[in-house]
């Protein structure tokens, strides 16, 4: 059986599984559509959160970025896990106690203002759409490879499938489907990593293999990699090249963005008790850590294997001839994500750091998917990783679309424009919102502002600057009032989005940027790191404005006191 048929079979089988579960658990009432009736146990919820959380950015893109960025990209690893500590301590238990369905509902009630709720809806939609653009990039890469088409066609097919999939089930369908998706994606990620770690170091645990000796040289793996990179003129892997300021702010931004992203927060609304919200965050991190502890090993090992493929006799000898290239190179050439240009006409693939001499361009987003092929692993492992990548992208895209559609139908239409809308009308509005969000994200995904994980990092910056500070101040301070919160969210969102647009183009449209991340506007702060500054602005403005205006009414202060105490949570209500 050839690889293409095998890919289709494995991917088809996993899809049949998800769709089967979605149909079996089809959402009936609106309450089930949004929050799965609150009957989800913490371990299962943790696993579903893991699938929800680990998107195309984590699965497909992150290790590839680490592979080329080395130590500098550690912010992704620390940021996207450390945020769970903040969630567990600062947000999840109190929001569960509050007991409503959506993040804007909390902000609207706590800041006793429908404008606060509307601003939260806008923040949520902006962050989530940016996030979906990143997912679409990943979906395009995965589909283009496994269907062997160019990346734009892959993106269109992927968008159609994401839409069908998200519309079919609500949260309930998604919760159980996501447990299945987690299992598929974690198996798909770790099996090739274990094989590769065994090949390169003899250690079956990739996270330990990364710090073990390479069997080829007897030297530590990272020392061996550094040697290869040095021969070819690339920058070192384990040393710091980015500024400490930017690394610090980038990590802050990803951490608090994690705690401010609505599709993750709503997960904690679905556990039975307040205590379960805390442990759910822990379980989520357990399942996430399985991938995140493996990712840095995948990154370093993929880079090593890539170089060894091009230089089969060592980096000081001649590279491989283009005609003798392995099948995986030829396969990825079809997608347009890997390119060879014989600049000096010698028929060899010269891969070096020098831009004038380098003949091989590798899109970072293909590293994880290509990894098993590069390491010559069996066909079923290659098919499995395609299925895993798609599971990761689909589950997160679906979760985000749920968050967007509930913000529009529940918070905007039912909460503001037309409170008398029927349940049926509300579900219809939710589905239309999903369709529009997918269309926008697909259009922008054709010319994405960065690799999948970088685009997603921008979404985190936006959530960090707008939603996280409002939620945290709403719980930990009784003094922040309606005007303060609204001013804070608007200020945080606006400065961050302007900074991003200045560096990535207005509305992410190519060619409209005034600055680049290589030479940013402020100090060495890249657009992906600016969320931390935006959050600071949000906090400062909210405090300043609140202390100059009237303190919140007594009943709001009582609300804050009540959400701080677990007892009496009960089940949630829709209004």
């Amino acid at each position: 059986m050839d690889q293409f048929t095998l890919n289709l079979l494995v991917v088809g089988a996993t899809f049949a599984l998800y769709i089967g579960i979605a149909i079996w658990a089809r959402a009936g009432s609106t309450a089930e559509f949004y929050a799965a009736g609150r009957g989800v146990n913490p371990v299962m919820n943790g696993m579903a959160t893991g699938a929800d959380w680990m998107s195309a950015a984590s699965f497909i893109s992150m290790a590839g970025i680490i592979s080329f960025g080395g130590y500098d990209t550690s912010a992704y690893l620390m940021g996207w896990t450390g945020g769970y500590v903040l969630l567990a301590m600062l947000l999840a238990p109190y929001l569960r106690k509050f007991g409503k369905f959506t993040v804007p509902e909390f902000i609207g009630d706590r800041f006793y203002s429908s404008s606060a709720r509307m601003v939260a809806v806008v923040c949520l939609i902006v962050a989530s759409i940016t996030y979906v653009i990143g997912q679409m990039t990943g979906v395009g890469v995965a589909f283009s490879r496994f269907l062997e088409v160019d990346v734009a066609t892959g993106l269109y097919i992927g968008a159609a499938i994401v839409f069908l999939y998200a519309v079919l089930g609500g949260m309930k369908g998604i919760t159980y489907t996501q447990v299945a998706q987690y299992v598929v994606l974690i198996i798909a990620y770790t099996i090739p990593a274990v094989f590769i770690s065994l090949q390169l170091t003899g250690n079956p645990i990739p996270g330990l293999g990364l710090f073990s000796d390479a069997t080829s040289t007897g030297q530590p793996l990272l020392t061996t990699l550094e040697g290869m990179l040095k021969d070819l003129g690339f920058k070192t892997y384990t040393e710091q090249h980015d500024t400490t300021l930017n690394m610090f702010l980038f990590t802050v931004s990803l951490m608090i963005g994690t705690a401010g992203l609505p599709h993750v927060i709503v997960r904690f609304f679905t556990v039975p008790k307040v205590a379960d919200a805390r442990s759910s965050a822990g379980w989520a991190l357990v399942f996430i850590a399985l991938l995140y502890l493996t990712a840095p090993a995948v990154g370093a090992m993929a880079r090593m294997n890539l170089i060894s493929t091009v230089y089969p006799n060592g980096t000081t000898e001649a590279p491989i001839a283009y005609d003798a290239r392995p099948d995986w190179v030829a396969n990825w050439e079809k997608t347009g994500l890997l390119k060879f240009e014989d600049k000096n006409g010698d028929g060899l693939i010269n891969y070096t750091a020098s831009e004038d001499e380098n003949e091989l361009t590798v899109n970072r987003d293909i590293m994880v998917l290509a990894n098993p092929e590069i390491a010559n692993l069996p066909g079923w492992v290659i098919a499995l990783i395609a299925a895993g990548g798609l599971a990761a992208a689909l589950s997160t895209a679906a979760g985000l679309l749920m968050a967007i559609s509930s913000a529009v139908s529940h918070d905007l239409i039912k909460g503001q424009l037309n409170p008398n809308i029927s349940e049926k009308g509300e579900l219809l509005a939710a589905r239309i919102a999903m369709a529009v969000a997918i269309a926008v994200a697909t259009y922008l995904g054709l010319n994405p502002p960065g690799f999948a994980a970088q685009t997603v990092a921008l979404a985190f910056g936006l959530a960090a600057a707008s939603i996280f500070p409002a939620l945290m101040m709403g719980i930990f301070s009784k003094r922040i009032n309606n005007v303060g919160a609204v001013a804070g969210m608007v200020a945080g969102l606006v400065v961050t989005i302007i900074y991003i647009f200045l560096h990535k183009g207005w509305f992410f449209i190519a060619g409209t940027a005034s600055f680049s991340d290589a030479d940013p506007l402020l100090l060495s702060i890249k657009s992906t790191s600016f969320g931390a500054i935006g959050a600071l602005v949000n906090f400062a403005v909210a405090f300043a404005v609140s202390s100059a205006t009237k303190e919140p009414p007594v009943e709001v202060q009582e609300l804050v006191e009540s959400i701080r105490i677990p007892r009496g949570a009960g089940s949630a209500t829709g209004h």
Binding site: Y71, S74, L77, M78, T81, G82, Y84, V85, A88, M89, L90, P93, G207, L210, F211, S212, D213, Q219, P220, L221, L222, T223, T224, E226, T238, Q240, T244, M247, F248, T251, V252, M255, K273, V274, A275, R278, S279, A281, G282, L285, V286, A289, Y292, L293, P296, F476, E561, R564, I565, P566, R567, G568, A569
Partner: protein, 85 residues
């Protein structure tokens, strides 16, 4: 339902616990992984140094321990103050 002074004491205990956990959280990630890395250069681990290990492995392990410890301690605190469910 717990009375007001007991729930104030509960909240105070919670906030001071959060403060301690956040200090550890900060040291394990921003500290060991970024800010103090130059000082940890001497401690070698598999071809690199301890700071690199914390940035790519250690911090995540510390986060896991932190969340479960916090959850367990809070369950105890909930019961002590009679605010558990």
């Amino acid at each position: 339902m717990a009375d007001k002074s007991s729930s104030n004491a509960y909240w105070k205990a919670n906030v001071s616990m959060i403060r301690v956990f956040l200090v550890i959280w900060f040291i394990a990630s921003f500290g060991m992984g970024i800010l103090f890395r130059p000082m940890l250069k001497g401690i070698e681990i598999g071809g690199t140094d301890l700071g690199f290990w914390f940035a790519q492995q250690g911090s995540i392990l510390v986060f896991l321990v932190l969340i479960f410890t916090y959850a367990a301690r809070m369950n105890k605190l909930d019961r002590e103050h009679g605010v558990d469910e």
